[in-house]
């Protein structure tokens, strides 16, 4: 195929830059070099062929199978045929008109003393997205408030605050339901209106990107398979890393001299020391307070798959005190049973969290487990009573073990809001971890 001297479309570079920006927004890392490679690749193909155009872009821009689903959806959206684009634009115009009319209607319905409440567009949109029954309930509440005894104009800010709070609550519930329905938080849906889940961007990939808290009982078997697959993969990786290479250690001068005596003392063959690697000892501490039990169960399941790769694996649950659940992990019969047996049977299940007391119990009752080969993995959102005491105990534990890796299911953007997160992350390696893919990524880099 002859090299084309000139690009046929002068807008191609601009389109390519916009497309790579969209990919970046969807979380696909694309460097400038790769964008330039894509441009060079396009010069080598027949750009009138959609398939060749797509293959060239894909080969240069996508370097991971899990990103291919995002790429496919974005490509279909961004490089749509003119007919499809016109159709989509018409649809979008109709949708916009309907959306604006909906906001007007919501504003009329949410009035106090004949005047609309001061609500943002997103709050009005939230109102519209609620079921007719929910809307009616809110209207009845507003009407009763409005017609109550001695209710004056000065009640407006209070009513506004109550309505806003109710709308926020409904939005949180809706989001949770959506997640349970299988939509991926990391999908490119923000960038691609109406993008449907297809290819590797959906299914197993979507499950691994889903908040673990939102994985419902119906999806547990699939999640269990995924966890097994990932932990098996990581186990192979860890065991492989432990196999020593041909020149594993530093030069062993004593052995080299002794072995080369036969050559008259000339160092003819070098001898190396074997690489010293002892198997790690892992202590897993799982917060099983009500908000954490889902995350903890998934981490226990994942770590259980790795137990053969570590010298010793111990598992504890904690909320207001510590409980050794290592024996419960032996005859495991699935994620749901594990949840039943370990979490529900736990004396501490659903209680408040006292991290400090739990850490103190660990250090006092199980001192043999804590040494310089021990890695402690904590699964907790850091919310605990007696924070200062907990921080002090965490510092003591840190001095006794090799390292502490903290898996925190709170989203990273919320961390600055919590003093507990800030104080504890200064002491330990803390990683956001609320999806299976994050769990895999954090542990694969740390074990």
């Amino acid at each position: 195929m002859p090299l084309k001297e000139k690009l046929p479309d002068s807008h191609l570079e601009e389109n390519l830059v916009t497309f790579t920006n969209l990919l970046r927004q969807a979380g696909v890392p694309v460097s400038t070099t790769e964008a330039m490679d894509a441009l060079n690749a396009l010069q080598q193909v027949d750009m009138s062929s959609r398939e060749e155009f797509k293959t060239a872009l894909q080969a240069a821009l996508i370097k991971n199978r899990r990103d291919q689903g995002y790429f496919n959806r974005l490509f279909d959206y961004f490089f749509a045929s003119p007919e499809t684009r016109i159709r989509e634009e018409k649809k979008a115009a109709v949708y916009k008109k309907k959306y604006e009319a909906g906001l007007d209607q919501a504003s009329k319905e949410l009035q106090f003393k004949g005047e609309s409440l001061q609500l943002s567009a997103s709050e009005l949109a939230q109102y519209n997205s609620m079921s007719p029954e929910q809307r009616e309930r809110l209207q009845v509440f507003m009407h009763k408030t409005e017609t109550g005894v001695n209710v004056e104009e000065r009640f407006r800010p209070i009513l506004e605050a109550v309505v806003k709070s109710h709308l926020r609550y409904c939005r949180t519930n809706q989001n949770r339901d959506k997640k349970e329905g299988g939509s991926s938080s990391a999908s490119a849906s923000g960038a691609v209106p109406g993008g449907s889940g297809s290819g590797p961007g959906s299914g197993r990939a979507a499950l691994s990107e889903m908040d673990m808290q939102a994985i419902t009982a119906s999806k547990l078997p699939e999640a269990e398979q995924l966890l097994q697959r990932l932990s098996k993969k990581l186990a192979i990786q860890i065991l492989r890393r432990r196999r020593s290479g041909p020149r594993s250690g530093p030069l062993d001068l004593r052995r080299s001299l002794r072995d080369n005596m036969r050559y008259g003392g000339t160092i003819f063959k070098l001898k190396h020391k074997p690489r010293r690697r002892s198997r790690e000892q892992i202590v897993l501490l799982c917060d099983v307070s009500a908000s954490m039990q889902h995350y903890s169960t998934f981490v226990i399941q994942f770590m259980h798959g790795l137990r053969e790769t570590v010298r010793e694996f111990s598992c504890f649950s904690f909320s207001d005190d510590l409980e050794n659940i290592t024996p419960d992990l032996k005859n495991r019969g699935g994620l749901q049973q594990l949840l039943d047996r370990v979490i529900r049977r736990s004396d501490t299940w659903g209680g408040g969290t006292n991290l400090g007391l739990s850490l103190r119990s660990l250090m006092e009752k199980y001192p043999d487990l804590l040494n310089r080969r021990t890695s402690v993995i904590v699964v907790s959102d850091t919310r605990t009573i007696a924070l200062d005491y907990s921080i002090k105990e965490l510092g003591r534990l840190k001095d006794r073990v090799r390292r502490i890796v903290w898996l925190n299911p709170l989203p990273g953007e919320q961390w600055p809001e919590y003093r507990s997160v800030q104080s504890m992350s200064a002491l330990v390696e803390m990683w956001p971890c609320n999806t299976i893919s994050q769990l895999e990524a954090v542990l694969s880099g740390r074990l």
Binding site: P29, D37, A41, V45, Q58, A59, K63, Q225, S244, R247
Partner: protein
């Protein structure tokens, strides 16, 4: 060595490597842009084979670097022939007229070229196959992408050696660990999946002379069905399908049935757990049913 897209497709056909157009186009772009090609995919989908067939098609040398943990520059790039240098010193100890200088000892005759240096010094553009790159250490990977970006290496005693020809570089990975962004950025990327039933039939017929059409078709469907079983520890690779086909041809069989699958199962399923899983979950009866129904056995594996 200008290769056109039709040449490449013809080449793939000639050497019996069956692939779809998008795979061929990605390989063509690798050649045209002189970029390394990173191929990922499950074991046994034809990643390593791609390096070999490229060398065949381009009629050039294949230089292979097999990666493993502990692989370092001395095994991948070059090493001084320490023993030979010592022998030279010993031999010349009593010969006053032949001075052994440092320049003499660190000359090219004492340099042992390893695959990367061989590829860089090759007079004709070779195919450099860096196999299972995910098995090497991250430090070596960092070193590798430096070599792959400049195609030159510095030997302190000799100076910088630049590539005469930029080699065709094919890296393969089973995706057992995430490769660094730096390495990926320098490569074009191709994911190879198991072939569709139709393509697998073509592969069997191309690679196993004498195989009956019907047998090839039935085998491809059975293998596709096995690969769909998520609980199998190891899915059958293309090479294993071919071994199975050769065995059945040697047994003079032209049709497949449940009993025969059961008897020759160890050629495609290589662990006891997988064989037991097959007997419990599918069994010879399941195979019979599938073959009778005439469906494709759910051979939904995408074309590679």
């Amino acid at each position: 060595m200008a290769v056109t897209m039709p040449d490449l497709k013809q080449g793939f056909n000639r050497v019996g490597y069956i692939c779809d157009d998008s795979t061929a186009l990605t390989v063509y772009l690798t050649l045209a842009l002189e970029k390394p090609l990173l191929i990922e995919g499950a074991p046994g989908v034809g990643k390593t084979e791609m390096g070999k067939v490229l060398a065949d098609i381009l009629e050039t040398d294949l230089i292979r670097l097999q990666c493993y943990e502990g692989l370092d520059e001395t095994k991948a790039l070059y090493e001084w022939n320490y023993q030979r240098q010592l022998l030279r010193i010993q031999m010349n100890r009593n010969l006053e007229d032949d001075q052994v200088t440092e320049e003499n000892l660190f000359s090219e005759q004492y340099l042992m070229e390893r695959p990367l240096l061989k590829a860089i010094k090759a007079q004709e553009r070779p195919v450099l196959l860096i196999d299972e790159v995910d098995k090497c250490d991250p430090e070596f990977e960092a070193f590798l992408f430096e070599v792959l970006s400049d195609f030159q290496v510095s030997v302190p005693e000799l100076g910088t050696i630049r590539a005469n020809q930029i080699p065709v570089v094919v890296l393969t990975s089973n995706n057992e660990r995430e490769l660094s962004d730096g390495l990926k950025r320098r490569c074009l990327y191709l994911y190879l999946d198991f072939p569709s039933v139709e393509n697998e039939v073509r592969i069997i017929k191309a690679r196993v002379p004498g195989v009956a059409d019907r047998l090839a078709w039935e085998m491809a469907r059975v293998v596709a069905r096995l690969r769909q079983q998520g609980d199998l520890r190891k899915k059958p690779s293309i090479a294993e399908t071919l071994d199975w086909a050769r065995a059945l041809v040697a047994l003079n069989r032209s049709r497949l049935d449940g009993k025969l699958v059961g008897e020759t199962l160890n050629l495609v399923l290589k662990t006891r757990a997988d064989q037991e899983y097959f007997r419990e979950e599918i069994g010879p009866e399941g195979i019979e049913d599938m073959l009778r129904q005439g469906g494709n056995g759910g051979g939904a594996a995408r074309c590679r």
